[in-house]
Each structure stands twice: as structure tokens, then as C-alpha cells.
């Protein structure tokens, strides 16, 4: 009698079939083959019960081969849908307890079955499998992160970036001195301007030579030359110069060939700039520090526009290097803050300001520090007047200033707000007292429009000026809200209307909108349930944080929600934000305007599953919200 075995061609085919999905895609061939040889295949017509709580300890580990299996109790609306490649019941098998939910075939389905004893043996054998089973969501997130890295690593071809013209890299005007300048003055200029080299030019601004800090050591300090020496005695004469239109690649090649670190740029024979090796490295790996400095040193809106573009380029590059959504969005927000502050500095220096305390506030996603690559501006002003009579004239002056700032921001890549939620709108340039009465009206009325406003304005965050004004408003708001449970309930009901797009029939409910057919709105259906719930939790528990993740963490503690639950929400939120960033990045690369309409069919199987899990987390979060505030 032949012993039981699997036919070689079936073994190969089964392993290949399993490999299409995590964690099997990551497992060693020997472990997969061991598993395949022990598998059985079962058929479940639509509606058939696969597994139920009454069946006792689960005897089998299931992998959906084709079709789909639904799991869920009758009580909740928490039906989850398992598609091809998904495994169950992990929790019950690991914990050695009956399943909590009934599992039934949602359509005609085939499942692979592995006996529970074999499942446990496989856990022992395969670290990959064990890791997957015990840390399902976490491990999924990690893998997705890895996928992001490799995907972008491919595109992160330095080639295209090195084709940038040198003129586009220049961040500042060149530091130059005329022939005959004593060394002391030239060195002072380098020190003051914080540059590593100085160009020497003739009367027509034509470059004659260059002197770098390194040269100073060997040509001035060590020989002990007096600092009165005219600079042309020690400079490198007939320096290498490139036209401003030359590319970064050419500059790098010339530097490498001649062993130099600085190059002069000329336009029409005149000195147009100095390129240092550092500038070139910056584009190879654009640094946060570099962009920050560029913003701090920006002398005008033109320089800030460049910085705005750099922020976007940096965000793409960091996304490519595998930075987490959490860090990345915060970083984008921080740089955007720097840019906005610098712009306000420049603009306020240029106009007459009333002698009052005022503060520029960021609202909406900017207030939450959760901007993506497609963000328009949302801002407002708060001020105080010593004298009631001055109110309108002060407002007028501030609005004049705000208009310049709004337009400047527009020029730097933050489009004007379509809903005119901007500081230059007289409705949103208010005194502290006016803000309080405005907020009070919204809280007391609680209609749809008021709730919408609250969702934007209650995420305010001071950005520039007298920050205490915003802090006082925040403290006042916390007290006001806590005395108004009715408003919290209205906000909750409003938030709960936005149901995560998990389908009963298909895995996702897609838009029927003609403009964006067959898509999910990652902002409306994805991030918003988390953002809304976090806002309500934070307002209810008097937390001052405006960021969604921070709000969830802070209020989680205040409201005694288990830490793991909060962590899952935060992770799910960050994953959706990451998908948004990736989607927008992808569209920009194709020359399309970034948006939030994602076709889930374009996602990898893995991302699709995580996204589903993230939506499930949104549903759990909403259930918690309903429990606490809907009564």
C-alpha cells in the first residue's frame, strides 16, 4: 500500500496558489510544502456555515481559496468579510477557545483546511507564520511599509533629479568682492553670510577668481600672510565656471574631476551664483535642515515659492525612504508652518500694522498638522483692541495684511480656500470676544452648517503672533463645550452619518459619483471618521491637542479606553493617511492634480486588506463614540 502523499504537480500548484498571499508569500518553501501536503479543500455554497461558536474548539485552520467568508455576530453590525488568501480563526486557534462569531460563506467558496494540530506544528516551524498570526495587523502594516519603500526606491532615480539645472538649485545670491579687497574684509563677508567661498569679480561683475575656506588654511594661515593682503594674491585665478543652465550632473562630474567643492555659475559672462558640493548633495538627498534653512533665509516671496516646491519634493523623497505617515505629515506641517511664519514676517515688515495683539491661526487639517500634498489654506485671525471704538479700523488694517499673506501663500503652493475660510475674510478676522460669541452661537444652534464650521474652526492652532490669545480661546472653548452635552451629541450624530465604506456584498462600497466612478474617497470616508471622533473625544475630555493621533491618545487615557484599542485606531488612521499621500504622489507624478479618490482595484492585495482592516477600526471607533455620546 502506498503511503499518503501529495502528487508533485499538485504540491507545486498549491504552493504557488498560497504564495499569492501574505504570510505565505514570505514563508520558506519547505514550510509551505509541509503545509500543502496536509491541506484539504472544502466547498461551501453561499450561506453555508463554516464555523460557529457552538462547535467548540476549532479543529481546523482555514484559508479562503476562492469566494468569501463572512464573520460576525448577529448583534453588532461588525460583519467582517474574508477574501481569497485570508485566514481564520486565528484568535480562537491561538487562544484555544471556541470562535466568538459565526463564519459563513458569503458566496460559493472553497477553503483550504489545515488540522489544528498541523496549524500549531506550523507555528512552531515557521517564524514567519508565527509572526503573522500573533501580530496580524502590525505585521501587515510593516509589510506594506516595506512595499512602499521598494516601490519608491525604484522611482527614486537620482538620474532625473540630477538633470535639474544649476540655476534651479541656487538658494541665494552669490557672495562676491571686487579685486583689491583686503583678505580681512573678504573673510568677514564669508563669515557674515555663512558661506564657504567667495568670488572675486571685476568692474563688470565678470568672475576673476574664487577663494574657499580650505584655501585660506593653506594659502593664508599656514604661510602667515597678513590679512591686509589683497585677495587676488591668494585666490584661484581663472576659476572653472559653468553656464547657469548646466545640470547638476555636469557640476558633480567637474567637481569630481578637478577635486574641487565650489563652482561658479555665469550668465552672460557675469557671475550668477556659486554652487557648492553641499548644494548638490542637498538635491541628491534633500534634507529637512536644508529646507528649513532655505525658509529661514528667504528674503522674498520668490525664495519662499522655491521653498514651497522643495517641501513637496522633500515629502516625496521621504515617502520614498519609507518614512511613516505620522512623522511625514507632521514634518510637512512643520515645514509649512516655517514657511507660513516666514511669509508673515516678510509681509508684516512691509505694511503698517495696528498696535494691537493679534495671532494668526491655522485651521482644519493645517490646525491638526495633518496636511497632505493636496491642501488649500484654512486660516483665521484673532486680535484684541484696547478700545472698542478702534475695532473696525483695526480689523481693516489686519485684513489688508492678511490679504497679502493669503496671496503669498497661494503663490507658494497653498491654493486659496474655496470656502473663503481665510484670515482676509472679515468674517474670520475677529476679536477674541467676537470669536467667543461666534463659537457660542454655533454650539447653541448645532445645525448642519454650525457643525461643519465647528469641525473646521475647533481645530484651530496658533501659528504666529500673540499665541496666548489662541490658548485663552482654547481654554474657554473647553469649558464651554463641557457644559453642553447636547452639542457633543449633535456632533456625534453628525460624525456617525459618515459610515466607513465597508460593503456587505463587495468588500468596499464605492462611489457612484459620475466624476469619480468606482472609487473610495480616502478623505471623506477614510480619514474623516477618525478625525471627527478624535475631535469629539478631545472636546469632551477638555484636551487641548489638535492632532488626531494625539487627541486619540490623550483622550484614550482620560476616558479609560484600553491602550491597545487606541493604538489600533491610531495605526489605522496613519495607514489611511499614508495611502492618501501615496495616491497624491502617484497622481502628481502623472501630472494630475492630487486628490483623494482612490480606485481600490489599484491597491496591492496586501494594502487592500489593511485598508479594510483600517475601515473596521473606524467602525469600532464609531461604535465607541456612539456608546459614549449618542445617548
Amino acid at each position: 500500500m502506498t503511503t499518503a502523499a501529495i502528487a508533485p504537480s499538485l504540491l507545486a500548484a498549491t504552493v504557488q496558489d498560497l504564495r499569492r498571499h501574505a504570510p505565505f508569500s514570505e514563508m520558506e518553501a519547505a514550510h509551505l510544502e509541509w503545509m500543502a501536503g496536509r491541506l484539504q479543500l472544502a466547498y461551501y455554497p453561499a450561506g453555508a456555515v463554516v464555523l460557529e461558536p457552538d462547535a467548540g474548539m476549532p479543529e481546523w485552520f482555514y484559508v479562503v481559496k476562492q469566494g468569501s467568508v463572512e464573520a460576525g455576530g448577529a448583534a453588532e453590525d461588525s460583519v467582517i468579510k474574508l477574501l481569497a488568501g485570508e485566514c481564520f480563526p486565528l484568535g480562537a486557534l491561538l487562544a484555544g477557545r471556541p470562535v466568538a462569531n459565526q463564519f459563513r460563506a458569503a458566496e460559493d467558496s472553497f477553503c483550504y483546511l489545515l488540522a489544528a494540530a498541523d496549524f500549531h506544528a506550523l507555528l512552531e516551524q515557521s517564524a514567519v507564520f508565527r509572526d503573522f498570526c500573533t501580530r496580524r495587523i502590525a505585521s501587515l502594516l510593516e509589510q506594506s511599509q516595506k512595499a512602499v519603500q521598494s516601490e519608491y526606491a525604484l522611482r527614486q532615480d537620482e538620474d532625473s533629479r540630477l538633470e535639474r539645472s544649476l540655476a534651479s538649485i541656487l538658494s541665494r545670491a552669490p557672495v562676491s568682492v571686487p579685486r583689491g579687497t583686503p583678505l580681512s574684509l573678504a573673510l568677514q563677508a564669508m563669515h557674515d553670510e555663512r558661506v564657504g567661498s567667495v568670488a572675486i569679480t571685476d568692474e563688470a561683475d565678470r568672475p576673476l577668481g574664487i577663494l574657499t575656506l580650505k584655501d585660506v588654511l593653506s594659502r593664508v594661515t599656514l604661510p602667515g600672510l597678513p590679512l591686509e593682503t589683497p585677495i587676488e594674491k591668494v585666490m584661484t585665478a581663472e576659476p572653472i565656471a559653468l553656464p547657469a543652465g548646466a545640470t547638476a550632473r555636469e557640476a558633480l562630474l567637474i567637481m569630481a574631476r578637478h577635486g574641487i567643492h565650489h563652482l561658479l555659475l555665469v550668465a552672460d559672462g557675469r557671475l550668477a551664483g556659486v554652487i557648492s558640493e553641499k548644494n548638490l548633495f542637498a538635491i541628491k538627498r534633500m534634507s529637512v535642515q536644508g529646507v528649513t534653512n532655505a525658509i529661514a533665509n528667504a528674503a522674498d516671496t520668490e525664495a519662499l515659492k522655491r521653498a514651497g516646491r522643495d517641501i513637496a519634493a522633500l515629502a516625496h523623497s521621504l515617502l520614498a525612504q519609507g518614512m511613516q505617515a505620522e512623522t511625514l505629515t507632521e514634518l510637512i506641517a512643520t515645514l509649512n508652518d516655517h514657511l507660513t511664519r516666514r511669509l508673515i514676517e516678510l509681509e508684516t515688515a512691509a505694511c503698517a500694522l495696528p498696535a494691537v495683539r493679534w495671532c494668526w491661526m491655522a485651521l482644519g487639517s493645517e490646525g491638526r498638522m495633518e496636511q497632505t500634498l493636496a491642501t488649500d489654506q484654512d486660516n483665521a485671525l484673532i486680535f484684541t483692541t484696547a478700545n472698542e471704538a478702534d475695532l473696525e479700523s483695526v480689523r481693516e488694517q489686519l485684513i489688508t495684511m492678511a490679504r497679502r499673506i493669503n496671496e503669498g501663500l497661494d503663490a507658494c503652493g497653498f491654493p486659496l480656500c474655496k470656502g473663503f475660510i481665510m484670515a482676509s475674510n472679515p468674517k474670520w478676522c475677529l476679536s477674541a470676544e467676537e470669536w467667543r460669541s461666534q463659537f457660542s452661537r454655533w454650539i447653541d444652534a448645532g445645525g448642519p452648517e454650525e457643525l461643519l464650521n465647528a469641525s473646521i474652526f475647533f481645530d484651530f492652532r496658533p501659528l504666529y503672533g500673540a499665541e496666548a490669545l489662541a490658548a485663552e480661546l482654547r481654554a474657554w472653548l473647553a469649558t464651554k463645550i463641557q457644559g453642553n452635552p447636547r452639542f457633543l451629541k449633535q456632533m456625534t450624530q453628525n460624525a456617525l452619518r459618515n459610515v466607513p465604506p465597508l460593503g456587505l456584498v463587495r468588500d468596499f462600497v464605492l462611489s457612484e459619483d459620475e466624476m469619480h466612478p468606482h472609487t473610495l474617497d480616502l478623505k471623506l470616508n477614510g480619514s474623516m471618521p477618525f478625525v471627527d471622533a478624535a475631535r469629539i473625544f478631545a472636546l469632551a475630555s477638555g484636551q487641548s491637542a489638535t492632532g488626531t493621533a494625539q487627541r486619540l491618545k490623550q483622550s484614550g487615557q482620560a476616558l479609560r479606553i484600553p491602550g491597545e484599542e487606541v493604538d489600533s485606531w491610531v495605526q489605522a488612521f496613519h495607514f489611511i493617511q499614508l495611502l492618501r499621500l501615496r495616491h497624491q504622489h502617484g497622481r502628481e507624478r502623472k501630472g494630475l492634480a492630487p486628490d483623494n479618490h482612490l480606485n481600490p482595484d489599484m491597491l496591492s492585495v496586501l494594502d487592500r486588506r489593511i485598508l479594510k482592516e483600517a475601515f473596521r477600526q473606524a467602525r469600532k471607533l464609531q461604535a465607541r463614540l456612539a456608546l459614549d455620546y449618542e445617548r
Binding site: 504537480s9 499538485l10 504557488q16 500543502a36 479543500l41 476562492q66 472553497f110
Partner: protein
């Protein structure tokens, strides 16, 4: 029906003879056995051509279906090493070359292995007449023995259980498509047997739903369509 009724005696080596004796003595499933208790052997064979009486049997693939499950760990496949010209006249009349003996033994071993795996069936195949004939011709030639057992034809039973699909489905591919069965890439006899077995799982489920409970009942259903069963 062309059938080698005259059964030439074949001198088998001792080991093969005792295996064959054990196979002849093995019990066979009773017609009253409930469908759910049967161990089905779902088979697919590949031959050198379209005539199972003449064309060489090249490979056999089979999987076990039991308790409503396709047991991947209980599957079988074997390639048969034999030259196309080999027939029992050649074997009896002429002496065999060394390589022919080798391949002949390989085919015999493979057929014995399969018969032992099958353990009396019942057998299921799609267009079962073809697979059955091809196997029996080879068995007869190599072992001087007819593989006994019940044979059920999925190609006959499927349209009886799914009459609404009967008009549009002819081939196994048609049924796979109509019932939305996704299978591994099918390029071996074993993979085809697995595909047929998946169809069989669905047919068993449909039979249960239509209160067809025993092997006999299923055979009766099939023979009502003037199909011959052993």
C-alpha cells in the same frame, strides 16, 4: 465495443503477483453506502491520442475526496514509461529489449500503485468512459486484470443536478467556468483530477440538497440517462 475478451496469461514477477492478489481480494463499496461515507477516487488520465483502446496511456492523476473534502495529501500521479508501439503481442511474441522491459515494468508498477491508491473506488472522472477504458486496456495488458469498481461520470451527473446549465456546458472547462471554480493552472493529470474533484464537491453538495443519499441512488440517476454502470 472493442474489448480484449481473450485474456492472455501474463507471467508476473513474484512481488507484482502478490500485490495483484491482494488487490483482487480487497472489498468493494456497497451500493447502499451513503454518499457522505464514500471515499471517492477522482481520476484523470492522459493518453497519446483520442482512442483509449489504442493510444498509449501516458499518465494517471487522482485525488481522494472523502467527508466532503478534497484531500490534497492523498493524491496520486504517475507517468507511464512505455513506448507507443508496445502491445501485448510484442511482449509475448518477441523478446523485450532491456529498455522496453524497464519501461514495461515502470508502467506495471505505476498501474499497481494506482490500483492500490484507488482501493476499489468508486471512481469519478469527467467523460469517465474514456479514462476507464484507457486504464482497463493498460491494466489488462500489463497485469492481465480488469480494474473493477463503480465508475461515475461527472459529465453525465453535472447536467442532471444542474439542468439550468446543461445546455451551455459541455467540457470540464465549461463547468468550471459556469460554477466559477478557480483551479490551479491545469497542465498535469493530477491538476485535472483536482479540478474534476472540485466539481465533484459541488455535485455532492447539490446531490445532498436534492436528497440523493446513496451510491445506488446516484447511479440510478445516471443510468436513467441510459448510461451504463458496472
Amino acid at each position: 465495443m472493442i474489448w480484449p475478451f481473450s485474456r492472455p496469461r501474463i507471467a508476473l514477477p513474484q512481488a507484482a503477483a502478490s500485490r495483484l492478489a491482494a488487490l483482487k481480494a480487497a472489498p468493494r463499496p456497497k451500493p447502499q453506502t451513503p454518499l457522505s461515507e464514500l471515499r471517492w477516487v477522482v481520476v484523470d488520465v492522459e493518453t497519446g491520442g483520442l482512442n483509449p483502446h489504442i493510444d498509449a496511456l501516458l499518465s494517471i492523476g487522482a485525488v481522494e475526496v472523502r467527508d466532503g473534502r478534497l484531500k490534497l495529501g492523498h493524491s496520486f500521479e504517475a507517468g507511464l514509461l512505455q513506448s507507443a508501439v508496445t502491445s501485448h503481442e510484442n511482449i509475448l511474441v518477441h523478446g523485450l529489449t532491456h529498455s522496453q522491459q524497464l519501461s514495461g515494468r515502470a508502467a506495471r508498477e505505476a498501474l499497481l500503485d494506482f490500483a492500490e491508491f484507488a482501493a476499489g473506488g468508486p471512481f469519478v472522472a469527467f467523460h469517465a468512459g474514456f479514462d476507464r477504458t484507457a486504464l482497463q486496456v493498460s491494466m489488462q495488458r500489463e497485469l492481465g486484470w480488469n480494474l473493477p469498481g463503480h465508475w461515475l461520470d461527472a459529465a453525465v451527473i453535472a447536467p442532471l443536478l444542474f439542468p439550468r446549465l446543461a445546455g451551455e456546458c459541455r467540457s470540464l472547462d465549461d463547468w468550471m467556468h459556469a460554477l466559477a471554480i478557480q483551479n490551479f493552472s491545469r497542465h498535469s493529470a493530477a491538476a485535472d483530477a483536482a479540478a474534476t474533484a472540485q466539481l465533484w464537491l459541488i455535485l455532492l453538495d447539490a446531490a445532498a440538497a436534492q436528497r440523493i443519499g446513496t451510491l445506488k441512488a446516484l447511479e440510478n440517476l445516471a443510468s436513467a440517462r441510459k448510461w451504463l454502470v458496472t
